[in-house]
């Protein structure tokens, strides 16, 4: 796991666990707010793809794991593809671009301990996602069976299932990285005075 994040051109020390937990909480709060805004204006009709791309950006710039950017090292341990193309415009504008070089193996290669942590985090996330979907399934079944018990829910069933599916998608795409960031103990503080 990396101990720093480059944001708006500044290096942020993410070695303390408290900061990483704060970042995870902020990301989930932002995604929850976005989900609420989408419901307010579109009632989640056709807006799931917007949320999907928001999650992708959060993963690419902050969480990592399935991408070379972000705090968690790439899960597959493969070296990043080297390209002569210019970095993405959004990354330049946000000044978060920090290339991971193929020669720097420690930046992308997971050691034995990290591989175990990765697998364990995926196991925990998998259980949580499974339980989440089972709950949604049970709710859908119960609602179809006894619709009168759900009259207090101020949204039609279509919207409810769509919203729950979006929550499941958020968890599915971010939970393993969030578990790793949340549980990793304090790392050694970075020395910023060298630059």
């Amino acid at each position: 796991m990396r101990a720093e994040l480059v944001l708006m051109g500044r290096r942020v020390d993410m070695a303390p666990r408290a900061r990483r937990r704060m970042l995870v909480a902020l990301i989930y709060a932002a995604l929850a707010a976005l989900t609420a805004v989408l419901w307010r204006y579109t009632h989640w009709h056709g807006s799931g793809i917007g949320l999907f791309w928001a999650i992708m950006l959060a993963c690419r710039f902050f969480l990592g794991g399935y991408y070379t950017g972000g705090l968690v090292k790439p899960f597959n341990g493969k070296p990043p593809r080297q390209s002569d193309a210019a970095p993405p415009l959004l990354a330049l504008k946000l000044r978060v671009y920090k290339p991971v070089l193929a020669a720097d193996e420690t930046a992308y290669r997971n050691d034995e301990r990290e591989l175990r942590q990765r697998d364990r985090a995926h196991y925990a996330a998998y259980q949580a996602i499974g339980c989440c979907l089972a709950l949604i399934w049970g709710l859908a079944m119960f609602r179809n069976q006894s619709p009168r018990l759900f009259v207090w829910v101020a949204m039609p069933p279509d919207e409810l299932y769509c919203g729950l599916a979006m929550i499941a998608m958020i968890l599915f795409l971010t939970l393993p990285q969030a578990i790793l960031l949340w549980t990793e103990p304090d790392m050694e503080p970075l020395d910023f005075s060298a630059e």
Binding site: G48, D119, L133, A134, W137, C162, F172, L173
Partner: protein
């Protein structure tokens, strides 16, 4: 990882045999989903509601625990690593007790211990692989769902239950399937 080489009368020692079982199991899943959907669609009409609900619950409950990893049933131990208590699921538990043999050859899983280091490694690695597979499938599924709900069938209400049921089945059985598929042939019992 497989602590019951004989499960419900089916030998799990040979990898080939396990793979055949898995292929049959996954081919049966669409049939199961279709049967459950049919029963579910009849719930509001002439078929007895409680009977249909029990049939669906029985079908899905059996399918969920058939490959193991949960509820101390199936050829694999519980993934949580807890030692097995007395079997609770009837009648599968009764059939399991009569027809299964543990790795020690002493009967069903009553004497199984918690997962060892290799089992934990296999369990976590299988879940990671399953997660990756599901993640690769997510975007095509999202696009298909968008097209389906936007243009073909705009009401989620009537398809939500079978869709979520299939998702739960796939999610809860994929890691077990990967383990059963990849475990090498086991040594014959003494």
């Amino acid at each position: 990882m497989i602590n019951r080489p004989v499960y419900l009368g089916i030998s799990m020692r040979s990898r080939r045999q396990r793979r055949r079982l898995l292929v049959g199991y996954w081919l049966a899943m669409p049939l199961l989903a279709a049967a459950a959907s049919f029963l579910y669609s009849r719930m509001h009409s002439d078929v007895n509601q409680m009977g249909a609900l029990l049939a669906i619950g029985g079908l899905y409950g059996t399918a969920l625990v058939f490959l193991g990893g949960a509820a101390h049933l199936g050829p694999m131990p519980d993934f949580n690593g807890d030692p097995a208590p007395a079997p609770r699921w009837v009648p599968l538990a009764v059939a399991d007790r009569l027809l299964s043999r543990s790795a020690a050859g002493t009967g069903s899983q009553q004497d199984s211990a918690a997962l060892d280091e290799r089992d934990l490694y296999l369990r976590d690695a299988a879940h990671y692989t399953a997660y990756r597979i599901l993640r690769e499938c997510l975007l095509p599924v999202l696009i298909a769902a968008f097209v389906f709900f936007q243009y073909i069938h705009p009401h989620h209400e009537y398809v939500a239950v079978p869709v979520y049921a299939c998702l739960v089945l796939v999610i809860f059985n994929l890691p077990q399937s990967l383990i059963l598929w990849h475990e090498p042939d086991m040594e014959p019992l003494q």
